[in-house]
Amino acid sequence: MAKKSVWSDNRFWQRTAAWITGFASILLIWLTFDTNAQIAMGNDSDLKNGVTKRVPGPTVINYKITYEMDKKRQHEVPVIGEKEKFFGRDDYSEEEATELLHLGKLGSQSKNCMNCHTLLGNGAYYAPDLTKAWLDPAWGPTGSMQAMTGKSTKEEAMAEFLQNPSQYPTHARMMPNLGITAEEAKGLVAFLKHMSSIDTNGFPRNFGKIQGAVNGK
């Protein structure tokens, strides 16, 4: 009788399959916990000590956020810079900032922003993507929104627009008035500012760089 080959031996393939299945299971469980660490929100001391987090702590609203090209990663990343006044203050405590972001998050859910807008990849593209809305040049000193709303800062212009969206002609599809109060608007702007500081690996790509992408307008 010919010698039996290992390749046709059932036990060899059973053990190989067991090894690969076991190893892949452990790898996937490990990846799950690794992802938790990757997406965990930072805190105030991280911001003060320059510890990078994909999701910075709520007190990031006290800082200037810019969107800069990262040569190595080949896309733009939010960069947290110097202190910057937000509604006249740059000393929001962790509790105050958390409360403000929470108010904004609840507001975004109760007013169903995602019904038209996209937040972090979730929602619709009937209205502009809000993931990096805070970094949109239209709201900056050279953009048209501050002049249109008669405000001198980005946050005040955004808050004014959110309270009376149907007064300001922006896109062909204008935003309806949702009855957003001044306090809710402040929370929503804080929520948007924090969201724009999240490292989303460059999503949405080329944000604020493409002009006239909608229907050639």
């Binding site: 010698k3 290992v6 031996d9 053990r15 990846l31 660490a37 990757q38 987090k53 994909r54 490292d199």
Partner: protein, 54 residues
């Protein structure tokens, strides 16, 4: 032009970051950890078959 080796920079440091440096790093890692134990299993099974006289 990119240098062949660049300093490891990641937003949040992680072991998996080292496996995502390029298309080959993950492939080489997975082939290594899957194929190398297969050699070991092969040798064990061969020895067992020889011992059983097949």
């Amino acid at each position: 032009m990119n240098a062949m080796f660049e300093p490891f920079v990641d937003v949040v440091p992680s072991f998996f970051g080292t496996l995502a440096q390029g298309p080959l790093t993950l492939t080489i890692f997975l082939h290594t950890v899957i194929v190398l134990p297969m050699f070991w299993i092969y040798k064990q099974e061969k020895a067992r078959l020889e011992q059983e006289g097949n």
